[in-house]
């Protein structure tokens, strides 16, 4: 029995030493949720910590999860910054009253028009367009032409060979849905997706997962953002070639924002300022994101806005119609 008492007290000691101090929260730490890839987020956040000597504690979640989480925590917000995700998600967040405005002096010279919220509730920091990540082996082996339009995706030879995420979990897929609606009109867009559905092998939760799946040959075509196609496909060594629809494609303005009632608003503002600086925007070359700061370097081979035909994508409309479009999509597609 003596020994058991020793072990129990040792155990209690360990708990006390490790857990005790952290029950309360440290003061000069910035807390954030990020929707960026964890490997990528780590690069930026560590650079920020090095530059500013501010510590950051962060959790990675998909943009939809961040939104749900912020809603659930709204009475006792745990983080100060929401870092990354398409602007439409932030517009939905603003509608829920989860954000507070901040106009960054660093971004003021170049953040114009749709690159930020009209009242500065969210701030854009990169650009990316929707495209197709194609497995080159599949196309060579079957002697097929790469898809270069939305209509191409309906071809019977792609049956059960295309993948995309659920529009209700992924910003990528919702952007695609909103793009199609804005491009074709609502009824035709849903007719189109109904036909597309028979070519879809399966839906993912994460928008960029289909790129790797295409790389692995599980599917032939993944519909995703241009930077994900490059960062997760081509540049990693997968046999992936990106193409873009000739009818025009949608895009995202990747954003970040201050959370209403967050514990460290001042540190959060510093983070937003830093994210817009040339130094931070240069770093995004590792992920082929297109920086919004005109002085920042663009990665070689990255897809710029001028490289593809863009539609006049209305993210404000997309954010405001998010719930309705998704509900309709689920009714019609049944997934």
């Amino acid at each position: 029995m003596k020994q058991s008492k020793v072990i129990v007290s040792l155990w209690l000691l360990v708990i006390f030493v490790f857990v005790g101090p952290s029950i309360g929260k440290a003061a000069d730490v910035l807390h954030m949720y990020t929707a960026l890839d964890p490997n990528e987020a780590k690069v930026y956040i560590e650079a920020f910590m090095k530059d500013t000597k501010i510590n950051v504690e962060w959790v990675r979640m998909s943009a939809g999860e961040v939104l749900t989480r912020l809603k659930a925590e709204s009475k006792n917000p745990q983080v100060s910054v929401w870092y990354g995700g398409p602007s439409a998600e932030f517009i939905a967040g603003r509608k829920e009253g989860l954000l507070i405005p901040y106009k960054s002096p660093v971004g003021a010279p170049f953040l114009k028009g749709n690159l930020k919220d009209s009242e500065d509730y969210w701030t854009g920091f990169y650009f990316g367009a929707i495209g197709f990540g194609n497995n080159t082996n599949f196309f060579e082996k079957n002697k097929l032409a790469y898809p270069t339009s939305w209509q191409d995706l309906l071809k019977p030879e792609f049956k059960a060979n295309i993948s995309i995420a659920y529009p209700y979990t992924s910003g990528t897929s919702f952007t695609t849905l909103a793009t199609l609606v804005q491009l074709m009109g609502e009824d035709k867009a849903f007719d189109y997706w109904k036909k597309l559905d028979s070519n879809i092998h399966h839906y993912n939760t994460s928008g960029s997962a289909c790129v790797t799946q295409a790389g692995l040959g599980e599917i032939a075509i993944g519909i995703a953002f241009s930077h994900d196609i490059l960062a997760k496909g081509t540049s990693k060594g997968y046999p992936i070639k990106g193409t873009f629809p000739s009818e025009g494609t949608g895009f995202e303005i990747g954003a970040l924002a201050l959370v209403k009632g967050g514990p460290e608003p001042e540190l959060g503002k510093k983070f937003i300022d830093w994210s817009l600086s040339k130094r931070a925007q240069d770093l995004m070359q590792v992920w082929f994101r297109i920086p919004l700061n005109p002085q920042a370097e663009v990665a070689a081979g990255a897809t710029k806005a001028s490289d593809v035909k863009l539609i006049n994508y209305d993210d404000e409309w997309a954010g405001n119609n998010n719930k309705r479009l998704i509900e309709k999509w689920r009714q019609i597609i049944g997934k």
Binding site: I7, V29, K42, Y168, Y203, T212, Y238
Partner: protein
């Protein structure tokens, strides 16, 4: 006795029960504390979910359900989940029984090895089996590409893929339950039947099987609930075969529709509760007290060559399949880029120990705090349920087993709803993760404890009470040592579950406290298969180390106590 008569008898018993309790303040305080914890950390979060789904503008309303059930995309997952749950529980229990029976009753070689292999899948990190299924049978898979050269195209996304990976993951639960009980069944009964001229088949059918029935029922119940609540595998492999647990998650996470997600989860609760009640009613009619407290060594062996070798072959085949799945993960974790560049590299592990180090540290710390608390609490609950009589006992049992049936996602959301506002503000702390760990999987410990205790004749404890010991002394000195095997498996289960938890904790992790499984989810969501494989291997290694440590510590405490039922062997050997 009719039901009403029994109910009247129960009511009549209440005053005497209360009187008995008042005479034992320790027991009374214990019961009150346990119930308080169960209420706060299981009932309250669930209540919040119920409140959310049934309340409409301050009034009780069923509108959410008629809305849910009117939609095809909600009805289909319900049917899918039930079909899958039934298929997995039957197949999983069958395989678990084959292993347990082979090891306890059949004269085959390599028992230790089979025992290890049958318990091994318990420690499978979430997503791991599905990941392995893709590495093996996907289009670039080891089996489909290199061995079969694309002759057969496997359809791993959907029902069959899920059936295989869930069966391979959850049959271990059935095995552990059945192994403990088959081991504990007194062989004297079987010997007696043999002596009286029964054939070995007859002994199996009329002695072994009926005695094992409660355990089989428990096993089916456990596997069914696990399959229903499984989140990791359907996340990856469901394809277009939508499953209720992930659908509830997607509804909450993707649609920002907590109300709809909560209601889906309540739909998911109903079949689990039905299974639970069925099992209780069925089991309670069988008497299975076979352990008298005296150890018995002799054990009959099935030694007819045909039976022996066919069972041996089956075990070998199943073991081979498990080997293949785990081996693939190990191999995959060293591959540079699966499907494109198969050179071997340590890069994935470098990533795990640099980017992932914080995750590993937190996971280990939080798990080792939660494990002993959960283990002891589970044994106390099991003891109270089986041995004591007090008002509200059935309810307490139901509540403690309830967590098993609720999808983790909903527990997570429930915790956020319940503990993000005064009086109990816990979000962002280590405490909330530890609490999820403890109460999320307490059912397993309680279930094992109950199964074990029901096998032990209460007269041993009665003797202790007759000699003047009170409930707490009897529990500590008599009951606890006798259910040490169950306590071990409770500890080990909890630790493993903590290390591999995902669906509930994903909602309560914070920047300060993070978990390996969240890192795996990140890797999997981004389809970094090799990285996820490396994380999975690291989890497995740490679990093995910790299990060894638990065993070592407990041996120290017990001064090398020899375990009567040898059940802990299962855990010793993993």
């Amino acid at each position: 006795m009719t039901k009403t008569k029994r109910f009247v008898a129960y009511l009549k018993r209440i005053p005497s029960d209360i009187k008995k309790l008042l005479r034992e303040p320790f027991l009374l305080i214990g019961i009150i504390l346990v119930n308080l914890f169960l209420f706060l950390f299981i009932v309250l979060p669930l209540f919040k979910i119920f409140q959310l789904s049934f309340e409409d503008k301050g009034q009780f309303s069923l509108a959410i359900f008629s809305e849910l059930l009117s939609k095809k995309y909600n009805v289909q997952p319900l049917i899918h989940s039930l079909t899958l749950g039934i298929a997995v529980s039957i197949l999983g229990t069958l395989i678990g029984f084959i292993f347990a029976y082979a090891i306890t009753r059949v004269d085959i070689p390599w028992k230790r090895f089979f025992n290890i292999m049958a318990t091994f899948p318990i420690i499978a990190p979430p997503f791991m089996m599905s990941l392995s299924a893709i590495l093996l049978f996907g289009k670039q898979g080891f089996v489909s590409k290199l061995i079969l050269r694309d002759i057969i195209q496997f359809k791993i996304y959907g029902f069959y893929g899920l059936l295989v990976v869930e069966t391979l993951t959850y049959f271990s639960t059935a095995y552990l339950t059945l192994y403990g009980v088959l081991q504990a069944i007194d062989p004297a009964l079987e010997d007696a039947a043999l002596d009286l001229g029964a054939s070995k088949g007859k002994v199996f059918r009329s002695i072994t099987l009926p005695l094992a029935t409660p355990a089989i029922a428990s096993a089916i119940l456990l596997v069914f609930s696990q399959s229903l609540a499984d989140f990791g595998n359907p996340m990856i492999l469901a394809g277009n075969y939508t499953i209720l647990a992930t659908q509830a998650y997607l509804t909450i996470v993707g649609m920002f529709n907590m109300k709809g997600g909560a209601a889906l989860a309540i739909l998911l609760l109903i079949p689990s509760l039905i299974a639970f009640c069925l099992q209780k009613y069925w089991v309670s009619r069988k008497s299975y007290v076979t352990v008298t407290g005296k150890p018995s060594a002799a054990r009959i062996k099935m030694d007819r060559p045909l039976t022996k070798y066919s069972i041996f072959g089956l075990c070998l085949l199943l073991t081979g399949i498990i080997f293949l799945f785990y081996g693939m993960i190990l191999f995959g974790s060293f591959v540079k880029l699966w499907g494109a560049n198969h050179t071997l590299t340590m890069d994935n592990y470098k990533h795990v120990f640099t980017v992932g180090w914080e995750f590993i540290k937190d996971t280990l710390l939080l798990s080792s705090v939660a494990t002993p608390i959960a283990g002891i609490l589970a044994m106390i609950i099991a003891f109270l349920v089986v041995r004591k009589s007090f008002p509200g006992k059935r309810l307490m049992e139901l509540v403690s087993l309830l967590t098993f049936a609720v999808p983790g996602t909903v527990v997570g959301i429930g915790y956020i709803l319940a503990f993000n506002q005064p009086p109990l503000v816990l979000t962002g702390t280590a405490a909330i993760i530890i609490l999820v760990f403890i109460f999320r999987d307490i059912a397993v410990g309680v279930q094992t404890g109950i199964a074990e205790l029901q096998q032990i004749d209460p007269s041993i404890e009665e003797a202790s009470t007759d000699l003047g010991a009170d409930s707490s002394i009897t529990f500590r000195r008599i009951t606890l040592p006798m259910i040490t095997p169950a306590f071990y498996s409770g500890l080990a289960f909890t630790f493993v579950k903590c290390m591999t938890a995902i669906s509930a904790v994903i909602f309560v992790v914070s920047g300060r406290w993070n978990l390996i499984t969240i890192a795996i989810l990140g890797s999997v969501e981004n389809s970094d298969l090799s990285q996820a494989a490396a994380f999975s291997i690291v989890i497995i290694v740490f679990i093995l180390l910790a299990l060894w440590l638990i065993q070592f510590l407990v041996n120290q405490i017990g001064r090398g106590r020899k375990l009567k039922f040898e059940k802990a062997e299962a855990l010793q050997s993993i």
